[in-house]
Symmetry: C2
Subunit: 181 residues, 2 copies
DNA sequence: GTGCGATATCTCGATGTCGAGTAATCTCCG
DNA sequence: CGGAGATTACTCGACATCGAGATATCGCAC
């Protein structure tokens, strides 16, 4: 809390004077309106929500330069990560992208129409389907990934390596319970 | 990185042995497939996106007990924070909730139908409208906020006070450029 | 083999959001 | 005062998602 008492003039501190962000204003408003509540969790989790929202917008702009929607990138990148021959079942794609099965069917339909993936019958299970990246899809997602990383590096530029590691580790500790049940 | 070398057996360390999360797997896959790229930004920002997604689901469950959708809570809580008489213009609500004007009109319509807010003509500007929380809306959002904070506290329980402060501060440094232009 | 619960994918109607365009009103300069 | 441009909120069609249900197939017990 001591940082709130810093001088308003220029400050030789590491990251410069602390600027108020929208969550600071939100938290201050709640403390005024509901002094009976402990709103400390908002200082972390509201920032997570808002940052995710801004990140979505930045991703949208970055992908647009490669004629891709964010949801398209999500599917293509899961296939790309899987490695040759870039094939996954719709079910595997579901769990990686956190959407429902109806949504995934719809996504695969449209990606196939655009020629970025193709459906193959699953060998040995006639219920199943395999989704495979086309060569065009692979090229597209590789280019978009490279640019996405440039943009993300820009967003993190104010933190040094040590701070980024610390941030990743703290976030890890919060998400871990969700990912390993 | 030293934590990766920890023993697999029980560990007296602060947060226990590091468990692999989904982002660890994603990052490892990219390093295998694209060793030419520096994917370090993903260790932070992919966790932010995934955590936001899980947080949405947790909020949804928590609000359902008060018969509120997340988008309803977002609007009502902005009005609640504004303090008596709990009135804001649609424009002010836009900037706080990061949605478009068409979306906001639609939200206000439905909240008004449910009797949680009402539209008032803006005094001194006949283009304008003011949205005001009804008594029923105020009671609803107060109850939901209290429960939301309980849920969020649970999500952060694995971190001690010092770590939560550090996490909030690091997130602040990343979002700040978006919020103060 | 036959039957049955589990699994994989798809179908489809309801819903919320986006985003470009519209209409009314305000502001301010000349 | 008058008119151009800015501002405010709303309209409306396109689109992506959800989620419950339908369909086909699999695997296993008997």
């Amino acid at each position: 809390m001591s940082s709130n008492l810093r001088s308003m003039t220029s400050d030789p501190d590491a990251r410069g004077p602390r600027r108020e962000d929208e969550v600071d204003r939100i938290v201050a408003a709640w403390r005024r309106e509901r002094p009976d509540l402990d709103v400390e969790p908002l200082t972390v989790l509201s920032r997570v929500s808002r940052l995710a929202r801004h990140l979505d917008l930045a991703r949208r702009g970055s992908f647009a330069r490669h004629d891709l929607e964010p949801w398209e990138f999500d599917v293509l990148s899961a296939l790309r990560r899987a490695g040759e021959p870039y094939r996954l079942s719709p079910g595997a794609l579901l769990t990686q992208t956190l959407v429902t099965s109806g949504t995934m069917t719809n996504r695969i339909d449209r990606l196939a129409e655009r020629g970025l993936v193709q459906r193959l019958p699953s060998p040995g299970d006639r219920r199943g389907v395999l989704v495979q990246l086309t060569e065009q899809g692979r090229a597209r997602v590789d280019a978009a990934m490279s640019e996405l990383l440039d943009v993300e590096r820009g967003l993190l530029a104010r933190l040094d390596t040590r701070d980024r590691e610390r941030l990743a580790e703290l976030l890890h500790d919060v998400v871990a319970p969700f990912d390993s049940p």
